[in-house]
């Protein structure tokens, strides 16, 4: 009988410890709110959404930061999507197995490179290159950041897009071949459209990754809070939300308005990432269930 | 009154799964002490489910409703407070596909002993050897007890599955199509084993074809879609069945 008591205890411990993630996500949510929400009492919303971020003079307009994050992220996806999807197509549909045995681990290596290392190379290699090639006053620009972010999100996009392509049933391909299609026509006209939602999900997750990236952008985007003002902004310095938090948190007094607004920005990042991640995972889960159902019927 | 010859008596037993299937209905069935009782019939008759009821493996399945009486030596096996762990040692189960644990040959047999709390290595060694001898596997394995169980052939693996049940010194052995995946030679060995074993244990067997049923049954029950159609001594059921459905099945008119 003692055995049964012991078994019950272990089951309880596993249940409680196993549910701890709920506790942690609630804690994160709660603490962000606790430290950040009071800022809303001290600052008017119109001031918050103004265009000047200058904490020293008590100007807390976050539009430049939102704009900075947006530009850098959008542009990085413009680079990462074709590269990531193209590589996924190559790996999944065209490359011989021997090539994949080298290619896939290489992408995994990229996934493992710490973002601070990429930021480091961005400062020492990419930024001077940008400055000289495009004749800019500085190489620390939104575009430099986008380039690094693309490198960071490519492994995610490749992996998920690869899964999406793999999930397209072979019967689709066989049917197209039977109708006289060439391999490329099969890929372009049949496989890609069928994998579209999966690839979109891959892009969403890439966006999430880019939005949340801190070190690489902090090191190469120049940290100038300006609002998007036309195409020139791509090759000018910007400031992202993440970089703002990281660079200014060390200098604020705990409990001050500046401190609370940084937490508020954190709340915005938290909510954005939450929406993106939960939505993408839901889509991925539904697709797995659908393709499993297809296999059974 | 409790008949001393009956090891397990089943009365008015009903079993329904969550997907709606009623696999056993109004079942009245006796499994006699130290005899081989056989349940045979076409697929879907509920026989496999009955095997799993006897050691409460049904606890792991999606059972919606189960009621009735399954008495072993007067104890109702369906009781929620029953010590099912002890039950599973008393009623040892062998299944149609041999599933060795991913351990060594020795480890497969000692697993049941270890979880029962046995610590003494010497006693464990003795029990393992005895179990392997009783299952006619000792000669083939005694010099490689630490080898992975999966290095054995299919027939040897099934005998290993029998051995690990024997090591727990059960009172009843239930077998669900134990030789369906095996060749005739190994099948004959297992049937020989069962004939010997019934002297010590009570055997409940679901055979994988009717010939095996006829060879092995001291007592037999014919199951058709969850109902027991006829039950009686083996000779009577196979040579002179009373019920026309039994007769049709035994004579091969359907299968």
């Amino acid at each position: 009988m003692r055995k049964q008591g012991q078994e019950k205890l272990i089951t309880h411990i596993i249940r409680i410890a196993g549910s701890s993630s709920i506790l942690f996500i609630l804690l994160i949510f709660f603490f962000l709110m606790r430290e950040g929400l009071p800022a809303l009492a001290e600052v008017k919303l119109s001031d918050l959404f103004s265009t000047r971020w200058y904490p020293i003079e008590d100007l807390f307009g976050i539009l430049p930061l939102l704009s900075g994050s947006l530009i850098v992220t959008v542009f990085s996806i413009l680079i990462a999507l074709p590269l990531g999807a193209g590589t996924a197509i190559y790996i999944g549909e065209i490359a011989p197995r021997k090539v994949n045995e080298i290619l896939k681990p290489t992408i995994e290596i990229l996934a493992g490179i710490p973002s601070v290392v990429l930021g480091f190379l961005g400062i020492l290699v990419l930024s001077p290159f940008m400055r000289e090639t495009f004749n800019l006053p500085t190489g620390l620009t939104a575009f430099t950041g986008s380039f690094l972010l693309a490198l960071i999100s490519i492994p995610t996009i490749v992996s998920i897009a690869e899964d999406a392509l793999y999930a397209v049933p072979n019967t689709y391909r066989d049917a197209a071949y039977a109708l006289g299609a060439s391999k490329w026509q099969v890929i372009w006209n049949v496989v890609l459209p069928a994998a579209k939602s999966g690839i979109m999900t891959a892009v969403m997750l890439g966006v999430g990754r880019s939005l949340g990236e801190t070190m690489a952008v902090m090191m190469v985007t120049g940290n100038a809070p300006t609002v998007f003002s036309g195409l020139n902004s791509f090759i000018a310095p910007v400031r992202t939300m993440t970089a703002t938090i990281a660079s200014e948190m060390g200098e604020v007094a705990s409990g001050s308005l500046h401190y609370r607004i940084l937490f508020l920005i954190g709340i915005i990042l938290f909510i954005f990432s939450l929406i993106i991640n939960v939505y993408s995972s839901n889509t991925l889960a539904k697709r797995t269930a659908k393709s499993r159902a297809k296999m059974v019927s | 009154m409790v008949d001393p010859n009956v090891k397990i008596s089943i009365r008015d037993f009903y079993l329904r799964y969550s997907d709606g299937r009623v696999v056993l209905d109004r079942l009245n069935f006796d499994i006699l002490r130290n005899e081989i009782t056989v349940a045979f019939g076409p697929a879907g008759g509920g026989k496999s489910s009955l095997v799993r009821v006897l050691n409460r493996l049904t606890d792991l399945a999606d059972v919606a409703e189960m009621h009735g009486e399954v008495l072993m030596d007067g104890v109702n096996l369906l009781d929620k407070d029953l010590d099912v762990i002890e039950l599973r040692r008393k009623v040892g189960a062998v299944f149609s596909r041999p599933i060795p644990l991913p351990l060594s040959i020795y480890g497969n047999i000692s697993f049941g002993l270890e979880v029962a709390g046995m610590r003494d290595k010497k006693v464990m060694d003795e029990r393992v050897e005895k179990a392997l001898r009783d299952a006619a596997l000792w000669d083939e394995t005694h010099d490689r007890l630490e080898d992975p169980a999966y290095s054995l052939s299919g027939g040897q693996q099934q005998r290993l599955c029998i051995a690990r049940v024997l090591a727990l010194q059960p009172e009843v052995i239930v077998l669900d199509e134990p030789s369906s995946a095996l060749d005739p030679v190994t099948t004959a060995k297992i049937e020989e084993f069962l004939q010997e074993a019934k002297k010590k244990y009570t055997i409940f067997l679901v055979p994988h074809n009717i010939q095996q049923a006829a060879r092995m049954a001291d007592y037999a029950g014919f199951f058709l879609q969850g109902r027991l159609v006829e039950y009686g001594p083996g000779e009577q059921i196979f040579l002179n069945p009373a019920d026309p459905q039994t007769r049709d099945y035994v004579q091969g008119r359907f299968g």
Binding site: L83, T87, T106, A176, G180, M219 | -
Partner: protein, 293 residues
Amino acid sequence: MMIQGKKFTESARSKHITQGIAFTIIRVIAVVTVLPILGIVVYIVVRGLPAISWEFLTAMPRDGMRAGGILPAIVGTFYLMIGTAAFAIPLGLAGGIYLSEYSEDNVWTRLIRVAIISLAGVPSVVYGLFGLGLFVLFFQFGISILSASLTLSIMTLPVIISTTEESLRSVPYQFRIVGISLGGTQWQTIRKVILPQALPGIITGIILGLERAVGETAPILFTGATFFLPRLPSSPLDATMALPYHIFVISTQVPGMPIQIQYGTVLVLMVFVLGMNLIASLIRSRARANRQW
């Protein structure tokens, strides 16, 4: 089905040409994607190797980090890794075991899964904020190895839970039935049969999770990392140097920092991280070869 009505009946030649162009573009894309990766690794090795010496790896820094070794950063990263492991492994294992072996298909389980997905999506700098608010300030652990490890461990939980669950689920269900059928309890069966079989996958997941934690800067920025440390940390309540933070500071905030030392430090971090990656891959492939079933 979407192929109905589509005829692929251009002339064979124009199909061939289109395919040739398309395949070439795709091949170029793949090369363009892979080349920078190889370039990065090679470049770091080439420029960082000259800095590596026994002194570099084992001596304390001198002259405001501009000379000497980076021992405290290496040791600090190591301490953070151990600290993260200490909290993340038990909780992560429990989470994975719970989801795979004990959970039912109900609302609570679904909530747990949403929580895990959410934790996985929280940006690293937000983890830093959280760690600051909860561990540094509220619990008053201060800027310390403890605060940083706790923060990093929550960040690492989703990876460990997912890979643990996946590894356990990949062990055939029959083994559980057999274990129970032989009189084992659920936990006994898990402990003696299922877990050992799932262990290589679990360990791989742990290593990959810790690899990421080791390379992160933002979560430790305000919770544990410091730049100038006269001695090695002597207790979990001390702040510590760490390789990622060190790289960040020496490449952006220290005038006159020798380039060679910068590349050397980066190389050390890369070896740390990619080394863990390699070990995880080796464990994974060896396990696949050794599988009995």
